[in-house]
């Protein structure tokens, strides 16, 4: 009603003072790739909860054993197979009377240690190999790719089992076996991305301006493959945790008295009928770890590479 009665005066129709050059002005602050990704990730509640959960689990793996007056290897046959209780042993005790709370978090620490180390090796080798292969191109690329092709054809599981048979099972040998079979897929991913980047105009422009290999690699290639590395990291860690646990389960992994989550689950599965707490606690921790890494990985992929979102 009000608008209809309003008087239209010529003053209302003055130019707003926007020149042609102002049309090109960028009004908002520049956010950048990582800021943009963070804004997308922040909205993803599932990913944030997973990240928090991972931090809590890592903290417990480091600090957990110090929270109780007991130790993971303190045996006492007078307190075998106690059930979990709030006043005594939070997660109960095992067949030697050892505190399961301490054993579970020590096992988590071993599992995480193997997973992170294997992932670092896997990504390090894969990135290096893939980048060199793609950056050089030509005959070097050809030879390096034939090697990868043969390695990819050898099934991971078979190779890991063979490697575990000759090496004495231990933290280092498991790590090497897992990394040894994992790096080929990383190398292929990185190679693909670097090949794509090499074709792009900004790369050509930089090269035309006289940039040498170090600058091209450090300034243009690495920042542009970093997001792939982060996404791969998030999916490699849970699969390394899984492989380690699987090896421990079939008897090729961590040997007693050391324990990883897989070894604890294996022990627990045997006593499960009468003392289910021996199985349930390590199983819950293992599942929480793998699920949250996967969900965070999904979230990061959506945030860093929105085109991948389905």
């Amino acid at each position: 009603m009000e608008t209809r009665d309003r008087q239209l005066t010529p003053e209302l129709f003055q130019p707003a003072g926007l020149g042609s050059q102002d049309a090109e002005k960028i009004a908002g602050p520049s956010i950048g790739f990582w800021g943009d990704a963070w804004r997308r990730l922040r909205k993803n509640r599932v990913a944030l909860v997973s990240a928090a959960l991972i931090l809590v689990l890592i903290a417990l793996a480091v600090l957990g054993p110090y929270l109780t007056p007991y130790t993971s290897d303190g045996q006492d046959l007078s307190r075998q197979f106690r059930g979990p209780s709030l006043s005594g042993f939070w997660f109960g005790t095992d067949n030697f009377g050892r505190s399961m709370f301490d054993r579970v978090w020590e096992g988590t620490r071993v599992s995480l240690y193997i997973a992170f180390l294997a992932t670092a090796l896997d990504l390090g080798i894969g990135m290096f190999y893939g980048a060199i292969s793609a950056y050089n191109g030509g005959r070097i690329d050809n030879i390096m790719q034939r090697v990868v092709e043969v390695l990819v054809g050898i099934p991971n599981l078979v190779l890991i089992i063979l490697l575990m048979l000759i090496f004495d099972p231990g933290i280092l040998s498991i790590t090497i076996a897992i990394a040894f079979t994992g790096w080929t897929s990383t190398a292929r991913l990185i190679r693909g991305q670097v090949l794509r980047l090499k074709e792009q105009e900004f790369f050509l422009a930089s090269r035309a301006l006289g940039a040498g290999s170090p600058r091209l690699i450090l300034k243009h290639l690495i920042p542009n493959v970093l997001y792939i590395v982060i996404i791969t990291l998030m999916f490699t860690v849970p699969s390394a945790i899984f492989f380690e646990a699987f090896l421990s389960f079939i008897g090729l992994g961590i040997q007693v008295p050391d324990a990883s989550l897989g070894a604890l689950i294996n022990e627990g599965a045997r006593e499960m009928r009468f003392y289910p707490h021996l199985l349930v606690f390590p199983a819950i921790v293992l599942c929480l770890l793998t699920i949250s890494f996967r969900l965070l990985g999904d979230g990061l992929r959506d945030a860093l590479d929105p085109r991948m979102r389905k």
Partner: protein, 309 residues
Amino acid sequence: MLRYTLKRLVNAFVILFIIASVSWLLMQFLPGSPFNDDKLTDEAKAQLEAKYGLDDPLLVQYARYMGNLARGDLGNSYAYNGTPVVDIVLGKRLAVSAFLGAQALIVGTLIGILLGAIAAMRHNSFWDRFSATLSVLGVSVPSFVLAPLLQYWLAFKAGIFPIALFESWWHSVLPSAVLAIAVGAVVATYTRAEMLEVFGQDYVTLAKAKGLSRVAVVTRHVLRNSMIPLVTILVPLAAALLTGTLVVETVFSIPGIGEQFVRSIFVNDYSVIMGTTLLFAVFFVASYLIQDILYGIIDPRIRLAGTRE
């Protein structure tokens, strides 16, 4: 197509050859010899080694090993009084494992397609989230956690299923279910992603515009076209099944090949371990081969290029 298939076939054999050579090489590194008895004198040991050809040059031994392998002779088991490994690996146990695996594969794939299809058709709905949660759980909860837990709840506590062993079909339900969950989770994730992709295609819009019913659009256009790339998951499925059978057979004490393998590891029965590992290798390489050939049939561009990226 024939050329491409032959190329893949040769490739597969090369890889099998490499695996066999590597496993022979690894066997040379293994600690101990078959004649570790303290009562044996040095002469007797030398005689035995001569009898089994262990004093020949390594190359001769290698050639003999490969020759035996080509004739299907994998040596004898140390733990089973010299039973030929081939009889252990390819006997009744393989049939049991194959039955479990096949049953899980069929059921798991059907459930996976169903879940994935529902999720894609009701994109961003409750059912989509429900199916996504199930798939994440199915992929993340490993078989060695799932198998003991199901055994505890459904067999021991509730008494619905037998706890272990393999005497009737009823015994195979729980182990197959554990395997099928892993398979279903993988299939559901891929089916959903693939169907969402196909839903956005022009020919689907055209089919809708022609006035086809929703059922017809989904079954005749979307589902058929999204099934094709399912070939991609053949190898991951094979891996999931194999790790699964190793665990499931051990947990449920099923006399299959996986249980045999785990037991051989515990008693260091190297010749059986090697034989089984080679069998696994053949299984994997065969799935790679089938995948590559199916790729070639589906996508002529791959066939012409000769390799897949």
